[in-house]
Symmetry: C2
Subunit: 120 residues, 2 copies
């Protein structure tokens, strides 16, 4: 059972977990980026687009994040009827949101540059 204890204790120490850690923090950036590019998007849209770009995001992550951005005044939404199911919440950027996105994008490029300096 010692083996089990050890492998349980250090289960976190693997590349998959580290990759997950790296993904965190860029989700906000990506979501704002998608809404900006698409002009408007509803959650399932966003999940699909990110999946295509090979960044997996799930509902339990996305909904609270969208709510946060809405509460923060960066996003707004409107309900739109769908002819294939329940109505959808289409999110768009507010003026403040656009501004915020620009700053965040700049930060990403800076960070990216800094990391390159260190690891190349």
């Amino acid at each position: 059972m010692q083996g089990t204890v050890l492998s349980t204790m250090f289960a976190f120490m693997n590349v998959e977990n580290a990759k997950a850690q790296m993904r965190k923090g860029i989700l906000e950036l990506c979501i704002l980026g998608i809404i900006e590019k698409e002009k408007e998007a509803y959650p399932s849209d966003i999940i699909q687009i990110m999946k295509k770009a090979e960044i997996i995001v799930v509902e339990g992550t996305l909904y609270p994040l969208l709510s946060r951005l809405k509460k923060g005044g960066l996003l707004q939404y409107k309900w739109v009827e769908s002819n294939s199911g329940p109505p959808r919440k289409y999110y768009t950027l507010t003026g403040e949101g656009s501004q915020y996105y620009l700053e965040l994008k700049a930060s990403w490029f800076n960070l990216s540059e800094s990391v390159s300096k260190i690891i190349k």
Copy 2:
């Protein structure tokens, strides 16, 4: 006091916080990168090098992270006497650590590429 409540509630919704979120998750990568490049490094070294690259990391973050990497078998250390204070813990990569670092670096480039696809 309503104003205070609101500004406290949404204090998190700013670019500085988001930048901090983005930094998280790349720290492990950067630290391994520094140790790999320098062959060996002690914590204050690492803090200084990262500061130069404009990625701020503090002791309360670094020490637990180094311990995790040590426990995970990716790092090892040796004590080295200093003539300007207490002895230093010099960290080096283990074989497993080098392998892990390569994988993590590859993940970073993939992620970086994915983000570019989305936000450009």
